[in-house]
C-alpha cells in the first residue's frame, strides 16, 4: 500500500468536486436542509435546551438523500468515460484507488459538516452547551457519513450509470437506517425472537449513531462504523477488479 498514491488520487478526486458547480450546490443545499431541519423539524428553540441534538438527530435522514449524490460519480463516471482504463494501468493498486476516492468524498463531506459551525456559535451565544457533547456529535456524524459513503462508493462501482448508482445507494442506505427505527423493530418484535430483533437493530446506523450524538463514546459504536466502512470498501475493490473492463 503506497500512501502517497492514495494521497494523490484523493487530491485529484477532491479537486474534481470543485471543478464543477456540484460542490457549491451540494454544500449550500446541505447547509440549508441542515438549518431548516434543526429549527423547524427539530424544534431547536421550542425545546429550550442549549445543545445540538435536533441538528444531529436528523443527520441520518439528510445523509440518505445527500450522500448518494456525492458517491454516485466515484466509480460510475470512471467506467462510463473509460478513464478507469487509464487509472488502472497506472502503477497504483485497486485498494489505493478505492481508498483515495473514498477519502476524497469523506473529506468533502467533512468540509460540508464543518461549515455548519454557525449553529455551534448560535447555541453557544444563546446558552452554555456542553461543547464536549457537541464535538462527539460531529465525530459521530462524520463516522456515519463515512458509512454511507462506503456503501455509495461500492454501489457506484457496480454500474456505469450515475442515476442508477444514486437510487441504489439511497435504497441500501435507507435499509441500514430503517433497521433501527422503532416502527420496523416493532414489526419484527411481534413475531421474531428477541435475538433476531437485536441483531437487526445492531446493524442499524441509528442505533450506533444515537449514542455518539448524545456524547457517549462507546468503542463498539466506533468499531461498528470502522468495520462497516472496511467491509463495503473491500467489496468495492473486488467489484472494481471484476468489472473494470466491462
Amino acid at each position: 500500500m503506497n500512501m502517497l498514491n492514495i494521497w494523490f488520487i484523493m487530491k485529484r478526486e477532491f479537486g474534481g468536486y470543485f471543478a464543477t458547480p456540484v460542490a457549491y450546490v451540494f454544500i449550500i443545499i446541505f447547509l440549508l436542509l441542515a438549518g431548516f431541519s434543526t429549527f423547524y423539524v427539530g424544534n431547536f428553540f421550542a425545546r429550550g435546551e442549549a445543545d445540538l441534538y435536533p441538528f444531529f438527530s436528523l443527520h441520518p435522514w439528510l445523509y440518505i438523500l445527500l450522500i448518494p449524490a456525492i458517491s454516485m460519480r466515484l466509480w460510475a463516471e470512471e467506467r462510463k468515460s473509460g478513464s478507469i482504463e487509464l487509472l488502472m494501468t497506472l502503477p497504483v493498486s485497486v485498494f489505493e484507488a478505492v481508498l483515495g476516492k473514498f477519502f476524497a468524498a469523506w473529506a468533502f463531506t467533512g468540509l460540508a459538516l464543518i461549515l455548519n459551525f454557525p449553529l455551534w456559535i448560535t447555541v453557544n451565544y444563546l446558552g452554555n452547551p456542553d461543547n464536549g457533547v457537541i464535538f462527539t456529535g460531529f465525530i459521530g456524524s462524520f463516522l456515519m457519513a463515512g458509512g454511507f459513503l462506503a456503501i455509495g462508493s461500492c454501489v457506484s462501482a457496480s454500474t456505469k450509470n450515475q442515476v442508477i448508482a444514486f437510487v441504489l445507494s439511497l435504497i441500501v442506505s435507507l435499509i441500514f437506517v430503517l433497521a433501527g427505527y422503532g416502527i420496523v423493530l416493532d414489526f419484527f418484535s411481534s413475531w421474531a425472537p428477541q435475538p433476531l430483533v437485536d441483531a437487526i437493530s445492531s446493524f442499524s446506523f441509528l442505533t450506533h449513531f444515537d449514542a455518539i450524538s448524545k456524547g457517549v463514546i462507546d468503542l463498539r459504536d466506533i468499531l461498528y462504523f470502522a468495520a462497516l466502512i472496511t467491509i463495503w470498501l473491500f467489496a468495492n475493490a473486488l467489484i472494481v477488479n471484476a468489472r473494470k473492463a466491462d
Partner: protein, 316 residues
C-alpha cells in the same frame, strides 16, 4: 537487441468467444511494432492484457522482465499506455492532468516540472494547457493522451489506434513524434490504417480472429501481395490489345490485364520475380517506344484482405 515485451500463448476467452486465442510475439528496443487486424480481431484485448488492465485466460506477458500477473505494478511503471479513444479526466486541464500523472509516476519537484513541460512540448499541447480537457478538439484530446503516455519516458510504449480520427496533418504530427521516440523504446501501435505500416513500423504482426496470421517486416508483408513486382506498362502508338497479346506470350509472364481507360497493361511475373528490365528489353526488341514502365511494390490492402479473411489452414 534487448527484449522489452515478451508475449507467450496469450489468450482471452469471454464465455464461448475466443477474443484472443494463443498469441505469441515479442518486441525489442528500437522496434516499432505495427499491430494490425480487422476490427474485432483482438488487438485492443491483447493490449489490455499487456498493460495489466485485463487478466488473461492463459499465457504470459513480460514487460522489461516483469511478469504482469505476479508484478503488475512494476509492469505498469515501465509502460506508457494510450488506451483506445484516449480517455482522460474531462473536467481537468491538461496541466493539472499531467501533474497528476507525474505524481502517480513518482516524479516530484524539478523532475516533475521538466517531465510535464517536455511531454507537453513533444505532444504539442502547450497552447491548450489551461483549458478544460472536455472543451478540446478530438485531435488535442488525443495528444493530451499521448503526452500522458510519454510523460515518464517509459522504455515501453503501447498505443491503441493513436491516429484514429485525426486529420492528415495531425496524423503526420503523431507519426513524427512516434518516429522521434522509436530509437530508444519498444513501441507497439495498433492500427487498421495501412499507410501507417510503411510510415511508422519496423515490424508488423497481423492478427485475425484472435490468432497471429503474419509476423514480419513491412517489406515482407508487401511481398505477399500478388501485385508485388507487377509491372505497369504503356507503349506509344501501339494498340493495347496487341501489346497484351505479345507480352502474354513471354516466358517470364504469368498473367496480364488491361488497365482502365486505355492506360496500358499490367503484367504479373511468374513467382513474383523482378522482370522490369527483361520486359523493357523485349519491348525495345519490337522497336516500340515505351511511354511508361514501373514495378509495383505490392498492395497492402489486398494482402490485408487475403490474410485476414480466409481463416484456412494454408494461410500463415
Amino acid at each position: 537487441m534487448t527484449l522489452r515485451v515478451e508475449i507467450e500463448d496469450l489468450a482471452k476467452h469471454f464465455g464461448e468467444i475466443r477474443a484472443v486465442d494463443g498469441v505469441t510475439f515479442s518486441v525489442s528496443k528500437g522496434e516499432v511494432l505495427g499491430f494490425l487486424g480487422p476490427n474485432g480481431a483482438g488487438k485492443s484485448t491483447t493490449m489490455k492484457m499487456i498493460t495489466g488492465f485485463l487478466a488473461p485466460t492463459r499465457g504470459t506477458v513480460r514487460v522489461c522482465g516483469y511478469d504482469v500477473l505476479t508484478d503488475p505494478i512494476s509492469v505498469k511503471a515501465n509502460l506508457g499506455y494510450l488506451p483506445e479513444g484516449a480517455p482522460a479526466y474531462a473536467d481537468m486541464t491538461p496541466d493539472s492532468f499531467l501533474k497528476f500523472i507525474a505524481d502517480i509516476r513518482g516524479l516530484s519537484g524539478a523532475d516533475k516540472k521538466r517531465a510535464v513541460a517536455s511531454a507537453a512540448e513533444r505532444a504539442r499541447i502547450l497552447n491548450v494547457m489551461y483549458q478544460p480537457i472536455e472543451t478540446l478538439s478530438k485531435g488535442y484530446k488525443r495528444r493530451v493522451g499521448l503526452a500522458q503516455a510519454i510523460l515518464h519516458n517509459p522504455p515501453v510504449l503501447i498505443m491503441d489506434e493513436p491516429t484514429d480520427g485525426l486529420d492528415p496533418n495531425q496524423k503526420h504530427e503523431v507519426r513524427t513524434l512516434i518516429n522521434e521516440m522509436a530509437e530508444d523504446k519498444a513501441i507497439i501501435i495498433s492500427t487498421h490504417i495501412l499507410e501507417e505500416v510503411n510510415a511508422l513500423c519496423t515490424r508488423n504482426v497481423v492478427i485475425a480472429s484472435g490468432k497471429v496470421v503474419f509476423d514480419g517486416t513491412p517489406a515482407e508483408l508487401e511481398q505477399k501481395s500478388r501485385y508485388h513486382n507487377a509491372v505497369v506498362l504503356s507503349v506509344n502508338e501501339v494498340d493495347n490489345t496487341k501489346l497484351l497479346q505479345y507480352v502474354a506470350e513471354l516466358d517470364f509472364v504469368a498473367e496480364t490485364e488491361l488497365l482502365m481507360a486505355g492506360n496500358g497493361i499490367r503484367v504479373f511475373p511468374k513467382d513474383s520475380a523482378y522482370i522490369t528490365i527483361a520486359l523493357s528489353e523485349k519491348i525495345r526488341e519490337q522497336g516500340w517506344e515505351i511511354a511508361s514502365l514501373y514495378a509495383e511494390s505490392g498492395r497492402l490492402d489486398e494482402v490485408f484482405r487475403s490474410i485476414t479473411l480466409p481463416r484456412t489452414a494454408g494461410v500463415k
